[in-house]
Symmetry: C2
Subunit: 347 residues, 2 copies
């Protein structure tokens, strides 16, 4: 079996030190990423060019020897594949032609997804072949609520007023969109697994903007349905759920029937997580990406604090959010060394 320490941890086997990978570990903080990214102007075209996606997926593995690679792609490939217009403007983030009426849902077609996203699956097959056996390869997708945020707001948002107003005032039609996304996401994750992904992560980056009852309806419940859909086809492939910034509502995601691990954002205290979450499920996280910018003694102290709190149970070291562009690569190397050299205290 490929996938080494990460898959062992996800299946319940303990290692002396936890596996480590970082969200957005392939990205602008690496000069070798910027060099290859400069060869294609469109971000989505870059994602859909397998040799380039494979190359940037491998770059951080070569440099730092992480325990997992995550395929270089974007959560917005799903709305793109469904037929919504998606583009990226430099320095402004993603833009979509926003959905404003349920009548527009009819134009979104799941049928073309496998062919449209074939370059992603090809990149996964090739990355899996190129990676060391012991390095796990992760596939991923955005969760339905987060995708619906982009699809209805048409971009990032400060208050998510349009998508929330739709969900609150017209839950029936909002459900239609969420259900369509659940099916598309199951397809996309299954295809990634069949192409060679060893595990998958579901990013619900915007779940934290909802009150608890709505977190249940629009984040947790659809994510559980996706997990069950994927497990029906591939019962042994681990699924990591990342419901970002949901606070104490993270308690609802302790669902080993659906998820193999919960990824924690920076705001979810390691102390609280060790007590409330980890006895029920493997956790992943949650160093502040800005600690990785700071480096030095501050990084060493905070990474060690997290290791001391969470390293004694099932745990994958990661950040609480993605690596930021101004991160010095040598601080990433420092972090990997801290994690690999950490010694669990004798309990």
């Amino acid at each position: 079996m490929s996938g080494g320490k990460l898959l062992e941890t996800l299946s319940g086997t303990r290692s002396p030190t936890p596996p480590i990978w970082l969200m957005r570990q392939a990205g602008r903080y690496l000069p070798e990423y910027r060099a290859i990214r400069a060869t294609t102007s469109s971000f989505l075209e870059f994602c859909y060019t397998p040799e380039k996606a494979v190359e940037v997926t491998l770059q951080p593995i070569r440099r730092f020897g992480f325990d997992a690679a995550i395929i270089f792609s974007d959560i917005l490939v799903i709305p793109d594949a469904l037929g919504q217009k998606v583009w990226f403007e430099t320095g402004e983030g993603p833009k979509l032609e926003p959905l404003t009426d349920p009548a527009q849902f009819g134009k979104l077609s799941r049928g073309r997804l496998p062919e449209f996203l074939a370059p992603v699956y090809r990149a996964i097959s090739e990355a899996r072949k190129a990676l060391p056996r012991e390095t796990a390869l992760l596939g991923f997708a955005g969760a339905p609520f987060t995708l619906a945020c982009y699809m209805i707001e048409g971009s990032g948002s400060r208050d998510f007023a349009k998508v929330k107003q739709w969900a609150y005032s017209h839950p029936e039609s909002f459900s239609v969109l969420i259900d369509l996304l659940v099916d598309a996401i199951v397809d996309h994750l299954v295809n990634q697994i069949e192409a060679g992904a060893d595990a998958v992560q579901l990013f619900d980056s915007h779940a934290g903007v909802l009150p608890e009852e709505q977190v249940f309806s629009w984040s947790l419940e659809p994510m559980v349905r996706i997990a069950h859909g994927v497990r029906a086809r591939h019962p042994k492939v681990p699924i990591i759920a990342f419901p970002r910034a949901v606070g104490p509502a993270a308690l609802m995601y302790r669902r080993p029937d659906a998820f193999s691990a919960l990824s924690l954002d920076t705001g979810l205290g390691a102390h609280w997580a060790a007590k409330e979450l980890q006895p029920h499920i493997c956790v992943q996280g949650n160093l502040d990406p800005i600690m990785l910018v700071a480096g030095g003694a501050a990084l060493e102290r905070e990474a060690t604090r997290i290791l001391d709190k969470l390293g004694h149970g099932p745990f994958i070291f990661n950040l609480g959010h993605g690596v930021v562009p101004q991160t010095p690569p040598e601080h990433v190397a420092q972090l990997v060394e801290i994690v690999r050299n950490w010694k669990p205290s004798t309990e």
Copy 2:
């Protein structure tokens, strides 16, 4: 004693229905606010004109009969009073000439604060005289970490990289700034109380961007020091703490020695808060402001859900964040009616 139901609730007396006021209840969603706001171009000049500040403070009380008014002002009057350059650009939010070096702290002078902010205190005296006896008047201030965010970033921020990097890598010099702000905030709150404020609220709007250990050092600990400083002078004036988006770290703020109530953001589930926070301290919150945009059955259902969870203990009805400009005023009237007509279930 002035202050009616709100002060009774804060001092532990129960009413059949909870008091209600809303963060940013004076603001752009009201046509009468927009009319008077249009008479002054500079936002800070508007805040420093007592007759205008008083008028907009009273507007939502006349319309909706809230149990509390909050003086119309801004958290950035403190950096402004300390001598940092602060201005507001239409549609862009606040801008400050950012602090980039501890050497600049020496230019910040607490001495001129009482005179500089005299218009705020005059507005409070006049608003208190104009308000019905049973309506509490709240003063407020931004908490040190949130003010430091603006003072170092120079504006709002996506990742708060500059302020966090400073706090993480140079905690000694960051402490100097936080300590200076603690003293200035105590002065400002004491002055507001002596001008006629019945209670005060401390807004730590950005506390949620910190990991738990840093939440303790830079949000909780300075807020407790401020509360103790104010209590030393005015032991009976209630202090409401609003550490926004801190998730389970809200547990640390159960400090009745310092705070009379905790204000909850929308993400902090009412169910969790009823179990973990309310047995220890009065809570305030936490309807999603977008529910107030939605109105109708969605608003009724969600407001009632919150009342059913929290209305049986010490509770002040509020939002989880400020009223947004696109809120229809009639939905605010609907909410006040829902809260006033709510019947506690017989337990």
